[in-house]
């Protein structure tokens, strides 16, 4: 049992890691087919992980209902919606009043998706606009130099990336510099500079750090140094 729990996962990680790493340096039909087989396995495992997620979600809500925890009534809604969508998608028979095949336009599944799922998700996301407006009004203060820089960048981006920003820029007088015409307030130029220079530079630095650490972690996993993915301490 200890072998299956400890050594076996390390062997799998080592063999799979080394094989897929070497595959990049020895491109051949064999290495391609090994990679294809591996990717098929990954997709199957991810599929099972999705099932595990669904079961875990159901279990969480069933326990909530059984123990009558606060808000347990909403768990009934979650489970009912889950069963309804699953039946609509998987029903092996035609549902009266809807298209014959489950995934066709006009099917019950698509009807539920279009008239419940889309509006509900869109509503949830739209609410953000109200909270962002309120939060920005209350909390966005030029309290320090860093906060002032952030505030200025945010103000330029918010106006500069919408059509009204173009109107404002075009309404300001122009001047010539190195043979080019510039507006006194040129929000498109300013937003473009913010995105392409400081933003891209900062992001590139972060990405390099992230990917270098990912390589380090991958090496640690392949050689069995990093074992936290197995659920234990070390």
């Amino acid at each position: 049992m200890i072998f299956l729990k400890r050594q076996f996962p390390i062997i799998i990680a080592f063999v799979a890691g080394i094989m897929l790493w070497i595959r990049y340096y020895i491109p051949s039909e064999t290495s391609n087919s090994i990679e294809e087989g591996y990717l098929n396995w990954v997709r199957i495992i991810v599929g099972f992980a999705a099932i595990l997620g669904i079961l875990s979600l159901l279990q969480h809500h069933l326990i909530k209902i059984r123990l009558k925890r606060p808000g347990f009534a909403f768990s009934y809604v979650t489970i009912a919606a889950f069963i309804l969508m699953m039946l609509a998608g998987l029903a092996p028979f035609a549902i009266p009043g809807f298209a014959e095949k489950n995934m066709e336009s006009g099917s019950l599944f698509n009807w539920l998706y279009e008239f419940t799922f889309i509006p509900m998700q869109a509503t949830m996301f739209s609410v953000l606009a109200f909270f962002i407006a309120s939060a920005a009004f209350r909390a966005f203060r030029a309290r320090s130099m860093e906060a002032t820089l952030l505030l200025l960048a945010a103000l330029i981006m918010m106006v500069g990336r919408v059509p009204i920003g173009d109107l404002i820029s075009n309404a300001t007088p122009t001047f010539q510099l190195f043979g080019n015409d510039y507006h006194v307030i040129d929000l498109e130029e300013w937003t473009s500079w913010l995105l392409n220079v400081p933003n891209a530079a900062a992001k590139r630095g972060i990405l390099l750090g992230v990917y270098l650490s990912q390589i380090a972690i991958a090496i640690r996993i392949i050689f069995g140094i990093e074992r936290t993915y197995m659920g234990g301490g070390d």
Binding site: Q121, R141, L151, L155, M158, V162, R204
Partner: protein
């Protein structure tokens, strides 16, 4: 209560009411603000425009209804652009909530252009496992997707008699609400040397400029503004693209930009006002302390 104190203690419901009115007003009575295009979006349009007629393109629509207002108009316009140029479209999604949304878009646009599934386009549907799916497509499209969204065998489709893998397509566009752009760059575009562009939500667009400036992305379309710019470019270059009517192909994002402009301007003005009031209140406090 004086004005400064009133502003600093403003009930958030008043702000909510302003936002609601400013979103609804321009949607009911459009302001028709002119939309200028940015180099990032013009690059995407130019890249698609430069593809030879009949080329194959992969469009990954990796989003779900929460990003519909920002990204669905881009999908419509891009599909219309591809069909105007008779490009062969391979459409798929890595997001579980996406397929029915993509189905609407492809069925609407394909019907408008009389395009046939399996010959002119293929909607491959959803598969879990982001990197594993994209990596699989570089080996074999039909191997990764043995059937399409409608459960039809892909291997027998005319489209896949000449296209085997990502290597055989000329371009990739990822329309993404999450971090799938990096997956497409790392596992398909860069190793197979297939150029690509990305259309993403406004909140995630800034994160992809590092790839854009490095040349790994030809262009970036950020949020509804990017979609509106693509709409404008499409309508200016292809006047036959239908605007409005029963099947709206282009112009959907343009309509949303008035509301977005109004709300952005309101937020900016309210932040400036709140900061002025904050500094006045601070000065008063300092003066009171000095006086005491």
């Amino acid at each position: 209560m004086d004005f400064v104190t009133l502003i600093l203690n403003l009930d958030r419901k008043i702000i909510f009411a302003f936002v609601a009115v400013l979103v609804a007003w321009p949607l009911i009575w459009p302001l028709a603000l002119p939309i200028e295009t940015t180099p990032e979006v013009r690059s995407i349009f130019a890249a698609i425009e430069a593809l030879p007629n009949g080329s194959d393109i992969i469009i990954a629509a990796d989003y779900d209804p929460s990003s519909k207002p920002e990204l669905q108009p881009f999908t419509y316009s891009l599909l219309a652009h591809c069909f105007e140029k008779d490009l062969k479209v391979h459409l798929l999604t890595l997001w579980p909530g996406g397929p029915a949304l993509i189905q609407q878009a492809i069925e609407d646009v394909a019907a408008q252009y009389n395009k046939t599934s399996g010959t002119d386009y293929c909607f491959l549907g959803y598969k879990p496992g982001n990197a594993a799916v994209v990596g699989g497509l570089t080996n074999s499209i039909t191997g990764t997707y043995p059937t399409d969204f409608y459960n039809k065998q892909t291997a027998t489709m005319p489209l896949y008699q000449r296209v085997q893998s990502v290597k055989d397509v000329k371009y990739i566009v990822d329309i993404a609400a999450g971090a799938t752009v990096e997956v497409w760059i790392a596992f398909a575009s860069a190793p197979e040397k297939v150029p690509m562009s990305a259309a993403c939500t406004a909140v995630s667009a800034a994160g992809y400029y590092a790839y854009y400036t490095a040349g790994q992305l030809d262009g970036i379309s950020g949020g509804m503004k990017g979609s509106a710019e693509y709409d404008v470019l499409l309508m200016n270059n292809y006047p036959t693209v239908k605007v409005g009517g029963a099947t709206r192909i282009a112009g959907n994002a343009v309509k949303g930009m008035d509301a977005q402009s109004a709300v952005h301007l309101f937020i900016v003005l309210s932040i400036i006002l709140a900061n002025i009031c904050y500094f006045i209140a601070n000065k008063r406090q300092r003066d009171e302390r000095r006086g005491a």
